[in-house]
Amino acid sequence: MNKPPDMTQLSLYAKREPVFNRRIDGKFRRIKWAIMALCLAVYWVTPWLRWDRGPYAPTQAVLIDLAHRRFYMFGIEIWPHEFYFVAGLLIMAGIGLFLVTSAVGRAWCGYACPQTVWTDLFQHVDRLIDGDRNARMRLYKAPWGPAKIARRLVKWAIYLAISLATGGAWIYYFADAPTLWTAFWSGTADPVAYATVATLTATTFVLGGFMREQVCIYMCPWPRIQTAMTDEKSLTVTYKDFRGEPRASLKKSQKAPDVFGDCIDCNQCVAVCPTGIDIRQGPQVGCITCALCIDACDRVMQDIGRPRGLIDYATLDDAEREKAGQPPTRHLKLIWRPRTLAYLAVWAGIGLALLFALGTRVHTGLTVAKDRNPPYILLSDGSVRGAYTLRLRNMEGRPRRMEIAIVGLPGAVMWTDDSARADAARTLTRTIPADATLPLRVYVVAPAPGLATTAAQDFAFRVTAEGEARETALSEVTFDTPQEAIP
């Protein structure tokens, strides 16, 4: 019999290993700086951009106006019934992620994901307050004392300030930013605004300040999806083990250069990693492909006089080719493959379709709801009346006069709630306020002799903006009549 394992040594739960990533400079770090600056600038500046839409519409360039059911994006205004534009954009964003993954691997995770950007920002705060890797490790291990408490309080205060700025900026996408700013700081804004800011401040504080790589490794579904999307042709951060192994210290490998590989086991790649992994163990879920280890390793290789790229952006295929002494695949060829092209085609197709729809859409609309109970009304003179609720849409930033006309149904005339049957006609005209809809209850009456004895006849309402023949909309409806013959 073997001895049972010592279960007291095993835990079902793992403590988070803190990450103290060292500062590094290099090509990819500089790209990361630039993208971080761009992302933060876009996030914080966008709500404050202005855009002139005339006197009837808000002046905010990007505004999701939930209260009035409007979405403004520079020159484009979306109404709720056009939500398919937003749906199309979301689908494009999804397929765009596939496209980026197919072309350049987990670039989204490494550079542009908010979790990455804000974690990066918070790690720079760590470095600013507590020093670089070694100082932070020392402080982590040090017992709690006044100095440590003071440093922690300062750091968390900065975390909180960044979190408040992050959570606080979100609400300005949903209301006029300058107005809301004044209201927010004078305590008169809607409670929803404060609740939103409080929630997003808390999540930023926790996810950016403390959870960091745990979000990527345990909480985010995207790395799981990516494992299914990557193959040997996917660009990823690759440690070329054939070149690096067996690893040994610089001294040992200099003594026996034929035995040992280029990796001198300096651990710099681990030290700079923001998620605390060892890339030399191969591709793994914790690798967000930020390429900081490439920067670190390239520096070391330069120092010890070896060629750069022991750790490099490479597909597994390319690593194999390099191992076999063949030249690597050209970058363009990496991207020029069926999967990438298919994603690109779908992505661009949806984009073009949306642009086409946007360019050809009409700013005049009509929806008609027919009264179904009762389906028709017999009037005392024997004619038949149907009731319809029309909703006229004027999607332009100025009031417009529109003509509503009956198409078909010979002999039929209409009047409305606010006029009398004596004024009934085939057409009527109304002014629709700027950027608004006008509900209109319309009675259509058809004379008895003109009616067939069939139960329903098709006809349509057409609305046309005055002086703009292209601005027209048609809505087909039925006109019900009694099924028995009318005298």
Binding site: N2, K3, Y13, S380, R385
Partner: protein
């Protein structure tokens, strides 16, 4: 066969530590949950316990624990209803003070009254008049342009207040048509003739001299010599296309022999005056509403 290996051996394929168990060659990898996940789980339990203390939760023998906050769904509804009543208070007060004839001058109030009337109609009127107010045989259609007693706001309100043939209401709408057949006032042949004459008024049958004479003697007093009816007596217009009790020969014969006399309850006392005004506004808005006649000292001279 279970075997044990020293803990900490690395699995080759995954580079993960094993826990040391092996069953027939299958080993268990050590992939522990993150500790914070456990704390999140505990926090959820604490939250759930707290929730079950402050809100009604635990089932007991006859009811459930009440919760320390005293929250109930009925209480919530009560609050919502009070809030809704408070938002309506201004409209209700304005309607209470206003004579219904003046309502058309206040489009905002009119809209509110029609909306309120639509809701009250769903509760009080649909039983006879139908959900679409289209009525049925014996129950008037309120959408059309034919009114027994008149279709302006004031008249509709009066009809609602006092009902039709409402026993015990002194000013209720009252009209009685004699039982010409069952009381033996006319013979079956005479009723047939008069029914044909009535249908001829709207071109549905050929007229006859006997019927015309019988009509002039027995019916014209209420329905008028031309059969156009009279709103004063609530006598239906017999020349139009609308037949409350049916427009076939059999229907007319039956109605002359032993007339069907509908009853509408008086709503005074059952509904408050504002609701009745709202109902009148709603019925008026259904498409057949008439304008309030200009006040004239004498009866209108035009037919």
């Amino acid at each position: 066969m279970a075997e044990h290996h020293p803990k900490g051996r690395l699995d080759e394929a995954t580079n993960t530590e094993t826990v040391g168990h092996e069953w027939d060659g299958i080993e268990e990898l050590n992939t522990p949950l993150p500790r914070w996940w456990l704390w999140t789980f505990y926090a959820c339990i604490v939250f759930a316990l707290g929730y079950s203390v402050v809100y009604p939760a635990w089932p007991m023998l006859s009811s459930a624990t009440q919760g320390t906050l005293g929250w109930t769904s009925r209480g919530e509804l009560d609050k919502d209803m009070k809030a809704a009543a408070a938002t309506r208070a201004k409209t209700v007060a304005a309607l209470a003070d206003m004579r219904i004839e003046e309502l058309p001058k206040h489009p905002e109030l009119m809209r509110a009254a029609v909306a309120g009337g639509a809701a009250a109609f769903r509760i009080n009127c649909v039983q006879c008049h139908g959900a679409g107010a289209a009525g049925s045989k014996g129950f008037p259609n309120l959408n059309d342009d034919d009114w027994l007693w008149g279709g302006d706001l004031k008249t509709i309100e009066t009809t609602l207040l006092h009902g039709i043939r409402q026993p015990g209401d002194d000013v209720t709408r009252q009209s009685i048509m004699p039982n010409f057949g069952s009381d033996g006032l006319l013979t079956a042949a005479q009723i047939d003739a008069v029914a044909s004459h009535v249908l001829s008024l709207s071109g549905k049958a050929r007229g006859n001299a006997e019927g015309a004479k019988l009509f002039a003697d027995n019916c014209a007093v209420c329905h008028g010599p031309a059969g156009k009816g009279s709103r004063q007596f609530g006598a239906p217009n017999l020349t139009d296309a609308i037949w409350l009790d049916g427009g076939t020969k059999d229907d007319v014969v039956a109605q002359v022999s032993k007339p069907h006399m509908g009853v509408m309850p008086a709503w005074t006392g059952r509904l408050d005056p504002v609701t009745i005004k709202m109902l009148a506004a709603y019925v008026h808005s259904l498409g057949g509403g008439e304008q309030t006649p200009a006040p004239e000292p004498e009866a209108a001279a035009t037919p």
